[in-house]
Structures are given as structure tokens and as C-alpha cells.
């Protein structure tokens, strides 16, 4: 088990190194002069040259890559032209919001998808099953940004049930910082009103973000259970006279959840890219909306730093998924 974990982590290193090389290469390809951008519009040629020397832009490329590696390994991504703050600090400040949003969406998609998929499989070929099948295909064809806007129009603008955008109302301070997750921090502070408010603000973005995942997981769960239901042990249990739910819940479900769980890992990638869109529509102060902002500010260092951080998170999540995978189905680790 631990050897397996170690192996996965070691395999991650060359990929991350490659990603660093890729982002570094992209930094080199940037058409604008980073020194000129840092110096500002009114800088003289000498000032730009001084900055170039100071930041090592005159060094050979290999030396620059080495410096870049050293800086990045300390979480030092340079200064953002957009916010004029260290990029590492910007990312650290915004990361919890994204993780909170993605995590809630992942839970919604996972739990919702498994429940819906199981029900559809148990009521195989019923009207409910057909509706689930149609919606699970349609759910993957919906553009997240459009779905977000439709939800905003309906629930925030017309019905006025939920807030339109933001993480909390303007002027309301977040809970005291412990984890950075408002839902958890407000509970730690014992402020249930704030917890309720955070939850209300979180609902629409999280629902939007979970849609694609919900559809995928419902679909995989459904087909896996339908398949497992045809196995001999199920026929045996039915013959012995177990009620349907006593068969499905403990036995069939455990034998069927491997594929849906693998899917959750793969979904994380689409959730992160979904977060870019969803966060900028709902003004959610996370990494995704930061990425869009720095893109429009043409802040290349920040763009590539965010790309890199997302790559690292993505790799870690994939390892975590593999671990859960082996826990649910111990047969897996023998193959890896």
C-alpha cells in the first residue's frame, strides 16, 4: 500500500518538472518585454535595463530556468503586474475560496450522482430511468457559463431567492481566518448566521459547477449497477429472499463504485476549468476569477503561476483518488 503511494508520488515529479519547463518556455515566448512591463510606462531605457539586470533577464536561458526553479520551489512566483503584490501571496489568499467551491461541488456531484444513478439502476427502464439517461447526456452538453447565467436570471434576479454574486454581501466581513473556508470558519466561530449566509452565496456557483460531474457520475453509477445486478451472487441473494435494498446497498454498490470513483478524479480537472468560468460569472474571489483577471491584465507570470499551481493540485488529487480507489477495491493496487 505505502509502496504504491510512494511510487505514485515519485511518478508525479517528472510530470511537474515537465510542466515547469513548459511554463518557463511559454514565459520565454511572451511577445512583450517583462522588464518594460514592470518598469511602467514612464520608465527610461536605463531604468528598464536596471530592472532587466536586477531580475536576471540578461542571464543565459539555462541560468534563468535554474533561478525560476529555485524561486518556484519556495513559492516565489515574482510580483504580479496586475495586483502589484507577490503572486504567491495572491494565490495563497484566493486558493481556499476555490477549494471550498470545488469541494462542495464535488460532494454535490458525487453524492447526487451516486444516489440518482443507483435509483435509476434499481428502477431500470422506468420513466425515471429514461429521464435520468436523457438528462445525463444533456448535462454534459450544457455550456457552464450559460447554465450559470440562466440560474442567475431565475433564482437571483427573478425569484430573488439567492444572492447574485460574491462570497458574502459587500461590507460583511468573513469569519475569523482559521482554514480559509467560510463554511468551516463560521462554524468554528459559532456564528450560524454567517454560516447560513455563506451557504446561500455558495449555492448557485456550486450547483453550476457540479452539473457536468453530476451527469457523468449518475451515468457511470447507473451502468455499473445495472451490470453488477446481473452477476450470480445477486441472483443467489434474490433467490434466498433478501429484499432488494438489502442486496443493492451493501453488496451491489460496493462492487459497482470503482468506475464512478475513478470518474470523480477525472472530473476534478473539468471542475477546475469550470471554476474559471463559474468564478468569474459569480465574482467568486478564487483562483479561477484571478486567472481571468490576470489574463486580461496580460500578467504572464501570474498566468503561468496559476497554471502551475493548478497542475500540482490536479496531480495531488489524482493520487488521492487512486488511494480511495484502492481502499474501495483492494484488487486495484495489485495492478498498479
Amino acid at each position: 500500500m505505502w509502496r504504491f503511494v510512494l511510487r505514485r508520488i515519485l511518478l508525479m515529479i517528472p510530470v511537474l518538472f515537465g510542466l515547469l519547463l513548459l511554463t518557463f518556455t511559454m514565459l520565454q515566448l511572451i511577445p512583450t518585454d517583462p522588464a518594460a512591463a514592470l518598469a511602467g510606462d514612464n520608465a527610461t531605457v536605463e531604468q528598464i535595463e536596471a530592472i532587466r539586470e536586477q531580475f536576471g533577464y540578461n542571464d543565459p536561458v539555462v541560468v534563468q530556468f535554474w533561478t525560476y526553479l529555485k524561486q518556484v520551489s519556495h513559492g516565489d512566483f515574482g510580483v504580479s503586474v496586475y495586483s502589484m503584490r507577490p503572486i504567491g501571496a495572491d494565490i495563497a489568499q484566493r486558493l481556499p475560496a476555490t477549494i471550498e467551491l470545488t469541494f462542495v461541488a464535488l460532494i454535490l456531484a458525487g453524492v447526487g450522482g451516486i444516489v440518482i444513478g443507483t435509483l435509476a439502476a434499481v428502477w431500470h427502464n422506468s420513466a425515471f430511468d429514461h429521464i435520468v439517461r436523457v438528462l445525463s447526456v444533456a448535462g454534459l452538453a450544457v455550456a457552464a457559463f450559460w447554465f450559470a447565467i440562466m440560474l442567475q436570471v431565475l433564482f437571483a434576479m427573478d425569484l430573488n431567492w439567492l444572492p447574485l454574486r460574491g462570497r458574502l454581501a459587500v461590507g460583511i466581513a468573513g469569519p475569523p481566518h482559521v482554514t480559509g473556508f467560510y463554511l468551516i470558519d463560521s462554524l468554528i466561530a459559532g456564528d450560524f448566521g454567517l454560516f447560513w449566509q455563506s451557504l446561500r452565496y455558495l449555492t448557485l456557483p456550486a450547483v453550476t459547477l457540479s452539473l457536468g460531474g453530476l451527469a457523468t457520475i449518475a451515468r457511470f453509477t447507473r451502468s455499473a449497477i445495472v451490470e453488477t445486478m446481473q452477476r450470480d451472487f445477486v441472483a443467489y441473494e434474490q433467490a434466498v429472499g433478501f429484499p432488494k435494498w438489502r442486496i443493492v446497498l451493501p453488496y451491489v454498490l460496493r462492487n459497482s463504485l470503482v468506475t464512478p470513483i475513478t470518474q470523480i478524479g477525472l472530473l476534478f480537472g473539468s471542475m477546475i476549468s469550470g471554476a474559471v468560468v463559474v468564478e468569474s460569472i459569480f465574482d467568486w474571489p478564487g483562483l479561477g476569477s484571478y486567472l481571468v483577471q490576470v489574463i486580461f491584465a496580460a500578467d504572464y507570470r501570474a498566468i503561468l503561476a496559476v497554471t502551475l499551481v493548478i497542475g500540482v493540485i490536479y496531480a495531488l488529487v489524482n493520487i488521492a483518488v487512486d488511494l480511495v480507489h484502492t481502499w474501495v477495491d483492494p484488487r486495484v493496487s495489485e495492478h498498479m
Binding site: 519547463l21 511559454m26 447526456v137 452538453a141 447565467i149 440562466m150 451515468r219 451502468s223 497542475g311
Partner: protein, 279 residues
């Protein structure tokens, strides 16, 4: 023929095909179909933000342009982008996948590790970064999407090539002294073509969604293009009053992508019966 018959019995796949054919026809004859050819780019400012009516079935936008006409013309851009991106990705991805699958050595290892790196970041995010570096505009958005989508083709082709490579007839060809190029192009490629077609079909739908997202974020098409994603972005200022402004371009995306997904799923079931429908 048996395959065609089997496909025709698959109702969702047929529905998908019907949608694809319709959208393609609409795109080809777009300029003949639009009810108001002048209204695509030049609106009448006096009739701005009109709700759907007989004259403007999908309503009008903030400049008084007919949204139905713009949605119809927008299908051309959406399909062209997706076709371009998928074609370029295939040109890059398939040869690399064939080579890496057929050969085993540091070259093939390097190619596959490169795909690992590209797939280590979600495609949209990599495409955003690349598009920004390439400068704004539809061409750089397309290039960015293609440069980040080819690894998917390489992966698919690699896996299939590895599977076919161990077949007896390949060994026989090698024994007969057929050249490497001949074996790969004349014998392996036809055997992996089915998977490529499936990947390309699903890739079309996927790319239309991603390209629309880039357009929405303001990185792809630029005004006054009738791009679906861009139109939805433009509509945001006029919500919720002008709901039709955002609704219809979004439905167009939904329908088109749905067509490619349904048909792609059907094709995949045909090609690989182990992955039966239902998923």
C-alpha cells in the same frame, strides 16, 4: 452495412446524427436561411432589445440586430473552429501516437511523457494561457485549442496501436520485410481509424463547448462576430429583462454539442462493444 444497420437501430445515435446533419446544413446555407441578412451585423437601433415576436422569433439584441439570424450565422463560426481545431490536433496527434505505439524506445517514451505534461493541466486553462501569449483573436484561440487537444488523439492512437501491434499479421508483415512506414500507414492506421473517428466526433462537441467558453471570456471571437459564446457575454448587461438575448445562443450550443455527443456515444458502442451504451 451491418454496422450501419446496427447504428440506425440506436435511436439516440440517430437523433445525434440528425442534429449534426441539420446544424451542418444550416451552417452551409446560413446566408440563404437568415430571415434578415442585413440584421446580422447592422441593426435598427430603434428596435433594440425586442422580445421574441413573429418578426424576430428570437428577439433582438442591444443594437437591434435579429438574434435568430445571428444564431444561424454563428453556427458557421462554431463548426469552422471545431473542425479546424480537431483537424490540426489530428495532424499533430495521430502520427505521434502511431510512432509511439509502434516503436518502443526513448522516442516513444518522450512522446508519451510529453502528453502526460500536457494532460497535467486542464485543457481550458492551458488553452487560456497559450491564447493569451499568442495575442487575441479567433485564429490564436483555435491554435491554442489545437495545441492543447492533440495529446488526447495521441493517447487514443497510442493505446490502439499497441493493441494492434501484437497481432499476428503485423508480425507476418515484418517477417516478409515490409517497411515500417508501409506497416504503419497501410496496416495499422486502418485498424485504429475507428477509434480516431470516435475521438474526433466527441472532440467536435467538446471543442465547440471550449471555444464558446473562450469566446464568452473574450479571448476568442471579437465583436461584431455573431459567435454564440460572445453573444451570451454581451447579453449579461441586459439581464434579466432581455432573457432571450442569452437564452437562444445557449440553446444553440446545447443542441449542437448534444448532437455530437449522442452520435459519438453511438459510434463508440459500435467500435467497442465492451463499452456498451448506458454510460
Amino acid at each position: 452495412m451491418l454496422l450501419v444497420k446496427k447504428l440506425l437501430r440506436d435511436i439516440p445515435a440517430v437523433l445525434g446524427l440528425v442534429i449534426i446533419v441539420t446544424v451542418v446544413l444550416v451552417a452551409i446555407f446560413a446566408w440563404h436561411l437568415v430571415p434578415d441578412p442585413y440584421g446580422v451585423y447592422d441593426g435598427d437601433i430603434l428596435t433594440r432589445l425586442q422580445p421574441p415576436s413573429w418578426e424576430h422569433p428570437f428577439g433582438t439584441d442591444d443594437l437591434g440586430r435579429d438574434i435568430l439570424s445571428r444564431v444561424i450565422v454563428g453556427s458557421r463560426g462554431a463548426l469552422m473552429i471545431a473542425l479546424g481545431v480537431v483537424a490540426v490536433s489530428m495532424v499533430i496527434g495521430i502520427p505521434l501516437g502511431l510512432y509511439a505505439g509502434y516503436e518502443s524506445g526513448w522516442g516513444s517514451e518522450a512522446i508519451m511523457r510529453l502528453t502526460d505534461i500536457f494532460l497535467a493541466v486542464p485543457q481550458l486553462i492551458l488553452a487560456l494561457a497559450v491564447a493569451q501569449i499568442l495575442s487575441r483573436g479567433i485564429e490564436s484561440a483555435m491554435l491554442a485549442l489545437a495545441l492543447t487537444y492533440w495529446p488526447f488523439f495521441t493517447r487514443t492512437v497510442f493505446a490502439e496501436t499497441r493493441r494492434v501491434r501484437t497481432a499476428l499479421f503485423i508480425e507476418a508483415m515484418e517477417g516478409l520485410g515490409a517497411s515500417r512506414l508501409r506497416i504503419i500507414t497501410a496496416h495499422i492506421l486502418p485498424n485504429v481509424a475507428a477509434s480516431i473517428i470516435v475521438r474526433a466526433t466527441i472532440g467536435m462537441g467538446f471543442t465547440i463547448l471550449t471555444a464558446a467558453t473562450l469566446g464568452f471570456l473574450g479571448i476568442g471571437a471579437t465583436p461584431p462576430s455573431p459567435d454564440w459564446g460572445l453573444t451570451i457575454a454581451e447579453s449579461r448587461e441586459y439581464l434579466p429583462e432581455s432573457w432571450w438575448f442569452a437564452t437562444f445562443p445557449g440553446l444553440a450550443i446545447l443542441l449542437t454539442v448534444l448532437g455530437f455527443n449522442l452520435f459519438g456515444d453511438g459510434l463508440r458502442d459500435l467500435v467497442d462493444p465492451r463499452l456498451r451504451r448506458s454510460r
